[in-house]
Point group: C2
Chain length 327, copies 2
């Protein structure tokens, strides 16, 4: 069987690299990366090229015809654009349609949340989904829950700091709202199965590893580390206040994409921390297929395995090139 | 088995009466009608009451608590509010959730179209669907295609005028864009099955009778009537111009719901007449279940049967109390 030609947009980001790895490890794929001219020298890209990823250069904001050329001959486009680049996918999808792409995977890869005013980021994605549907482009939407890598709390000893981006030390309410969590590295493994699965065409899929709660994670870390954590208990009203403030701030003139970062953070807390949206039952209600049912043989990394790795000093930090550590 | 308590909103409208009839004929339902105090004397309502429909009085814009009281004990709410009342369903859905309603059927009942800027009416409905999903209320969305009753062209002899609302004499392009059509009277029969079917919970369903094209309908009418029709051929550019003008007009100050009527008409022509959205294949792509697959034993009224009725002088006109005939 001929290889499936998959082109990744945002291949050097965290989700993009997980997906590149997943595709390369699964085999059967010819993996392309669409790279802006400004990013061709990124070290993460050179690493992917060494492993066989073929680079095509094009700006995300290039004219449609140019984008369509860059997508020529591609079977599957997987978009992992950054949070503030969601709108660029409108033209990319139109170009993909023109290029005859057989399946378009828009940048979903977040927690479960209904559109219409809860999460700005979710609503930006919805505009892209609606455009895809209007141009009748075959698609799959893949959401993944919240990463282990940004859900594990810091230890008082500092022993885990080598792999921490955020302190993750807040518990909203009593911290027991259930939520789905996924090891970042498993996302690509799921995606490699989903994008060639006929059952997932024109469907939404929820691919996650486990359902627990922040309080459950804290308890597990305490048990495995032997250290006593000191969670910051945050009342729900504080989250609502953060959401209101971040919404007001993000909508101030002049427009600045970075103003939305606190809004993303606060609205995530609202959606999965308070509303409890990020669970498989709600995903099903919203029409998602459940990756656990699609792939019962898939063996995800457990949260305990990830924490053991962290404690052993062998885990890898994320966003290390982009975000200063803020604890 | 106890009767299922179904409450209809907009029971005296065309879709509402079809649904009331469908429920009453199917049996097994206790049928309620939520009626605004201003409408309790409508002759269509008295007819429904004679046939066993129980009236509950409440304004659609009443406070949520009052709406929840009006929905107390109801299993299924079916909303057929008017085109300009779509937004009232936001509070009604919230009240339905509070009242413990087991399934909410928002006012869909239109042609197939993706949300996001093609049809204003579709987008008004999308806001309601998103709200329903945010409050996690069990629902079913039922779309029905275009009615036979507004798709059949007038005869030059005037023989069909007794049952005509519009002349329906336009063919867009060559009139061959396929579209799904439904006899208004079959909608209620479909709905009576769908609302108690566990397979349709939290799903979209496309319930239609047949797929043909305006040109196909004209040919059928000519064959059965023996008269020669004189269709008005409308170029696609004319429809695009109508859409642009109607959009601009509807958005002028001050807000006036009636300004949207030409927009609804033009955008319908755009969606099903040009884009070809209103077909079962596209409905499936968008995630709809197909009522023909759900209910293979359902015997819909064929378009030919409807035209024969029209020619025999036994058909019933629609909107006769609301819209002056405009041909």
């Amino acid at each position: 069987m001929a290889s499936v030609k998959v082109l990744l947009i945002g291949a050097t980001g965290e989700t993009g690299r997980s997906i590149a790895n997943g595709l390369l490890e699964a085999g059967g794929f010819e993996v392309y990366a669409l790279i802006r001219p400004a990013s061709v020298a990124k070290p993460q890209l050179l690493d992917l090229q060494k492993r066989g990823v073929i680079v095509r250069t094009c700006d995300l904001t290039a004219p449609e015809e140019e984008l369509a050329q860059a997508l020529a001959g591609i079977d599957v486009v997987i978009s992992c654009v950054g949070t503030t680049d969601q709108h660029t996918q409108i033209n990319i999808a139109t170009a993909a349609k023109a290029a005859g792409v057989k399946r378009f995977i828009p940048c979903a890869f977040i927690t479960i949340c209904a559109p219409g005013g809860i999460m700005y980021l979710r609503d930006e994605k919805e505009k892209v989904y609606n455009h895809i549907k209007q141009i009748k482009l075959p698609y799959t939407i893949i959401d993944v829950g919240w990463w282990y890598q940004i859900a594990t709390p810091r230890l008082p000893s500092g022993k885990l700091d080598y792999a921490m981006t955020l302190a993750n030390d807040e518990l909203i309410g009593d911290g027991t709202t259930p939520s789905a969590f996924t090891d970042l590295r498993d996302i690509g493994k799921y995606v490699a199965r989903i994008v060639v699965d006929p059952r997932t065409e024109n469907k939404m899929v929820f691919a996650y590893n486990t359902v627990t709660s922040p309080a459950g994670i804290f308890a597990l870390v305490e048990k495995l580390s032997g250290e006593k954590l000191e969670p910051k208990y945050i009342p729900e009203e504080t989250v609502h206040k953060r959401v209101a403030e971040a919404r007001a701030f993000s909508e101030t003139y002049p427009y600045d994409a970075t103003k939305f970062t606190p809004r993303y953070a606060a609205e995530y807390q609202l959606s999965w921390g308070i509303r409890g949206d990020n669970v498989p039952e709600y995903a099903k209600y919203l029409g998602y297929l459940d990756a656990k049912e699609l792939y019962p043989d898939f063996k995800p990394i457990t949260f305990e395995e990830y924490i053991q790795e962290l404690l052993a000093g062998t885990a890898t930090g994320i966003y290390t090139d982009r975000i200063s550590r803020i604890y």
